[in-house]
Symmetry: D2
Subunit: 121 residues, 4 copies
């Protein structure tokens, strides 16, 4: 499947375009939803809304969003909820552009102390 604005992307291969769109959507998801109030009762609804929202972005075919229940439970303070952080998120985006299909992952890596986004073929 192609997208509008093709002429702006004639310098990219299908694979490069998929990588670009996947990167955009992962950065978007992270910075849009980090900070959202969440607890164990709302975690599923929030996962669903994040996935639905990000699937609207160009070339995103599917999205799987997982928020760590254990971290939500532990982090919830006296008020019974917590602001979503990057550490709690595990995301998988299936990206398709022209002949290229890739998977983009977001995962918090303890050894880097960083929520790493990477491409999985």
């Amino acid at each position: 499947m192609r997208e509008p604005g093709e002429e702006y992307f004639s310098n990219l291969s299908d694979r490069e375009r998929a990588i670009f769109e996947g990167g955009i959507s992962m950065g978007a998801l992270f910075h849009q939803f980090v900070g959202t109030p969440v607890n164990l009762e709302t975690v599923e609804v929030l996962e669903g809304a994040i996935a639905e929202s990000i699937k609207l972005q160009p070339a995103i075919r599917d999205a799987e969003v997982h928020i760590d229940r254990g971290m939500v439970r532990e982090a919830a303070g006296e008020f019974g909820y917590v602001s979503l952080t990057g550490e709690m998120l595990r995301v998988r985006l299936d990206v398709e552009y022209g002949s290229s299909r890739i998977t983009i992952c977001l995962e918090y890596l303890d050894e880097l102390r960083y929520p790493l986004m990477y491409v999985k073929d």
Copy 2:
């Protein structure tokens, strides 16, 4: 119902506390979710997730979130979706603290060209 951290709020009446918490939650909702990708197929899921998230905040008893379908349809560009703006949002929060119950509204007012938040008794 009371909340933790009472000693920080001894200078507020129940009504003032409800007004304060309602204001916080309305500001939070607006600035957390403005920018989210949305179209007619995801608008209902997004409304639900916004409402569930904001109901976690202190003293918020109920939340009704409405996103204007007409504006979403018109604003959607060539890519079939749009970033949520304050103009599209109509929100009602029921806030209860101690003996006080109030309603906080968010509504875009053409005459002010501004998404106004106000208290409705």
Copy 3:
């Protein structure tokens, strides 16, 4: 100083209005900027931009935004920066409406494990 849209606020005293606007702005600030990439070299510029942005909101006369350098330093992972969290923020907003002047504070409280927003007279 008064603000536009007066007729929507005839049910609030000056003090209630100041409390409402202060709450909105504090909720706004938190949910707008949590997640922003920051390290020791950019912390001052970010504090300034947050303060300037939030001073635009109705009735906010002054804003003092402090981001904890120690927490930024410790939290920075292998990539040399971190996403701003509520724990790192200490904020003071001076709010004035009509005859009322109040101060709104945001401070992370270890005993509540929560970034508490409260009114200081």
Copy 4:
């Protein structure tokens, strides 16, 4: 210059990695800062803070952020400021990874009614 977590990126060429990191940072910038209160007096400080924040992200060597003054002036309602939208933003990121240098642009395109992000060689 290389970055930590190399082993996660052995499947990408230098150019693909630059495209990926540039996409992430552009998506991040858009969804972090859209919604921020801004007027003509704060626009320069905000541009600076956005640029400094996004330059912290992996492989971003330089960032130029421009917010359209005319749109800010026109959009400001009765309260004298407006929430930043994607239409107002024009951004250029210089991305360098290994032997590859590319430029990523964000520009609102009237013909697509969409803030397009693309790669410029």
